[in-house]
């Protein structure tokens, strides 16, 4: 019954996450926008699980586990970057530029 609306809402949330990644320069905020995109996808999985069976909910479970691992490693990388250059602004991080 709520499948169509749920898919539309998750499309809007995913687009907002993409907009955040493109607009912001702060590495941590960009990382949070990636989490928002993961959440939008989770919403899609759960909306489709309602009529297509439990597999969607199981996938959301795995997405959450992977997101937790990703957050731990990603934030450690951001900490290491900050320690190296005293900034998390992606404009000022140009280590790979020749």
């Amino acid at each position: 019954m709520l499948l169509g609306p749920a898919l539309s809402v998750s499309a809007v949330l995913f687009a907002l996450g993409v907009a955040g990644v493109l607009v912001r320069r702060n590495a941590i905020v960009i990382f949070m926008c990636v989490e928002l995109m993961l959440n939008a996808v989770n919403l899609t999985f759960i909306a489709l699980a309602q009529s297509l069976g439990i597999a969607g909910q199981i996938f959301v479970f795995f997405v959450m586990a992977v997101a937790a691992a990703e957050a731990a490693v990603g934030l450690a990388i951001i900490l290491a970057l900050f320690r190296h250059g005293r900034t998390v602004n992606l404009q000022n991080i140009t280590l790979l530029k020749g």
């Binding site: 539309s8 759960i46 439990i54 731990a72 900490l79």
Partner: protein, 171 residues
């Protein structure tokens, strides 16, 4: 309009609004707190879509653990106080809005073509009545999806080791 649909749209509206506030606030702490609000609204949507157990997990793992980790790092790096805005200039803003808008429109059109859900009680709701809220997720997780579940535990171990190695100055 049934109460469920009304509730769904109010939570969905709040989720979109707080996500919008999350990506436009200058202060990273405010951004993180608005993202927590978004996650709570999404948890409410999970309940309305017959995924009560995952709604609890959403609040515990996402709003509870992951976002606290984010806030901890923001405050550890002392990024909470003002300073220059990290939002791109007008040109970057226009390009980003255009790209995200195009993507959103495409996803929206794809979502429109989805078949309408079956009216009445969903398959999930019936299964939950038969097996219980946790049982309906736990049984396939520990039978059909046992191998992916075990691999996830290895993944978490790797993440722990990786985080420690990265965060330590020298081993």
């Amino acid at each position: 309009m049934p109460a469920t649909v009304l509730l769904f749209w109010s939570f969905a509206g709040l989720a979109v609004l707080s996500a919008l506030l999350c990506i436009t606030r200058k202060n990273p702490v405010a951004s993180a707190l608005w993202l927590v609000v978004t996650m709570f609204q999404i948890a409410a949507l999970f309940v309305l879509l017959d995924a009560q157990f995952l709604a609890v997990l959403q609040v515990l793992v996402y709003a509870g653990a992951i976002m606290v980790l984010f806030l901890f790092v923001i405050m550890l790096l002392n990024l909470g106080r003002g300073g220059a805005s990290d939002i791109r200039g007008p040109a970057g803003l226009a390009v980003a809005t255009l790209l995200a808008g195009a993507l959103g429109l495409q996803l929206f059109i794809v979502a429109r073509t989805a078949p309408a859900g079956t009216p009445g009680a969903s398959q999930m709701a019936l299964a939950e009545q038969a097996e219980g809220m946790v049982g309906v997720v736990a049984r396939p997780l520990f039978t059909t999806y046992l191998v992916p579940f075990e691999i996830t535990s290895v993944l978490l171990l790797v993440a722990i080791v990786g985080a420690v190695v990265l965060a330590k100055r020298q081993l």
